[in-house]
């Protein structure tokens, strides 16, 4: 009996490690966590919205690599920022991304997600393709990931071929063409804190 218990324990650890070690497994794991929060009977309705949002925000925090996300969104301008500004920008940008996605997660009634494909661009960079069923038809989603010291992390999400990072990159670059990085950080701060209130 003890041996069976040991085998079961080993299998559960092994399946967890395998799921975490592949980009697809990482995405799947996080999507399952979001779904379990949305389906948790203790977290239903408007009264539990704050608690629900906090849990979803924690999942989003662990899902993205804020530095990679910001580096790609700023492109050539990333090096114009001091290390302190880079840190501040990364924190604020992740906040903005969370605001963009949390409402979307919250209104998603799980109609099924199909994991289509995992494509490696290099041993440390991959794309996971999935399709989410919605009321208005299937949504094709592409998650771009890199291997970090803490495992796979996302640095971009494209919905129906529209990349979130590229979309913000266009706006950041336009602002930085006529403003100093400090001004961009101030605009971002205003956006994040303004929409929170």
């Amino acid at each position: 009996m003890k041996i069976w218990g040991l085998v079961l324990w080993w299998l559960s650890i092994a399946s967890w490690v395998c799921a975490e070690s592949s980009p697809m497994g990482f995405v799947q794991e996080n999507v399952n966590r979001v779904v379990s929060v949305l389906e948790d009977p203790h977290l239903q309705g408007d009264r539990a919205k704050t608690a629900r949002m906090e849990k979803l925000a924690a999942i989003t925090d662990g899902f993205f690599d804020p530095t990679e996300l910001s580096r790609r969104a700023l492109g050539q301008y990333w090096r114009m920022l001091s290390p302190e500004e880079q840190q501040e920008f990364s924190d604020l940008f992740l906040q903005l991304i969370k605001q963009t996605y949390l409402d979307k997660f919250d209104t998603y009634n799980n109609q099924g997600i199909r994991y289509e494909q995992e494509v490696f661009q290099s041993p440390t960079q991959a794309t996971v393709l999935l399709t989410a069923a919605t009321d208005k038809g299937p949504l094709h989603i592409q998650v771009s990931l890199i291997q970090t010291q803490n495992g796979w992390k996302a640095f971009d999400i494209a919905v129906e071929n529209i990349s979130l990072v590229r979309n913000y990159r266009t706006q950041f670059q336009s602002i930085l063409q006529s403003n100093a990085p400090r001004n961009l950080i101030a605009i971002l701060k205003e956006k994040v804190h303004g929409s929170r209130s």
Binding site: D135, E160, N161, S163, R166, N167, R169, S174
Partner: protein, 237 residues
């Protein structure tokens, strides 16, 4: 004779817009970040049009939409959308054939036949469960893009919204080729059908429009980029 003249116009467009294509697309690039921005020489005018369209969508259409959504539930609005999409199938088939995409044209024909018959004139999209019967749509803007034409430059049209020189020309060509145009050219019926089609589509994506606008630092640039990414992906497919 008409076909010959159309071909000359098409070739001229490809040559005129082709120069822009080389600047806008990294060759065989799968990385969306590699695409360059679309030229926008009319930016002040386009921004004014964007603001006007935003007022039309938010302040004029918004209240109408509230009533419309209250009267017609999601399934019925999906049905209207399916009907109009089915009606435009001949235009998609023609564009697929112009791009020598025989498999797409065949899928569109089968889908049209299935949806028109079993889907009751296209109100029900009975072909949706079959992946191969759901090809990405083809229009004349994409046909020009497939032939090597670039966007030319960005345009925001009143009411119709974002487009480009290339896709604007495509829009006119597709409108002239559409069955609605041939059935009742420029009559109140045709306008009513077009207006309902656009209003129904907008009612479906009204919340997404407002959310995208709210999330943007510069909504004009955000929508311009969304348009470009979307169209570039369709041309690449």
């Amino acid at each position: 004779m008409v076909l010959g003249r159309s071909l000359v116009v098409l070739l001229l467009l490809v040559v005129l817009l082709g120069g822009c294509a080389a600047r806008q697309h990294a060759p065989n690039s799968a990385d969306p970040l590699a695409d360059e921005a679309i030229p926008d020489p009319l930016e002040p005018l386009n921004r004014a049009m964007f603001r006007l369209n935003d007022v039309i969508i938010t302040d004029v259409f918004g209240p109408v939409r509230t009533v419309y959504v209250g009267v017609f539930p999601q399934d019925v609005r999906n049905g209207f959308g399916n009907f109009y999409r089915n009606l435009a199938a001949p235009v998609r088939v023609a564009n697929a054939l112009l791009q020598l995409k025989g498999d797409k044209a065949a899928a569109e024909v089968v889908r049209f036949l299935l949806n028109t018959t079993f889907g009751i004139l296209g109100f029900f999209d009975v072909s949706r469960p079959f992946v191969w019967l759901n090809p990405s749509p083809e229009d004349f803007g994409q046909t020009l893009g497939h032939a090597g034409a670039g966007h030319g430059f960005y345009l925001v049209l009143p009411v119709l919204g974002p487009t480009s020189l290339r896709d604007g020309i495509g829009l006119v060509a597709d409108a002239l080729a559409s069955p609605t145009f041939w059935w009742a050219p420029l009559t109140p019926h045709a306008w009513a059908i077009q207006t309902h089609n656009r209003a129904n589509t907008l009612s479906q994506y009204f919340d997404e429009y407002q959310k995208t606008k709210a999330d943007a630092l510069d909504p004009y640039l955000s929508f311009k980029d969304i348009y470009t990414q979307h169209r570039d992906a369709l041309v690449r497919e």
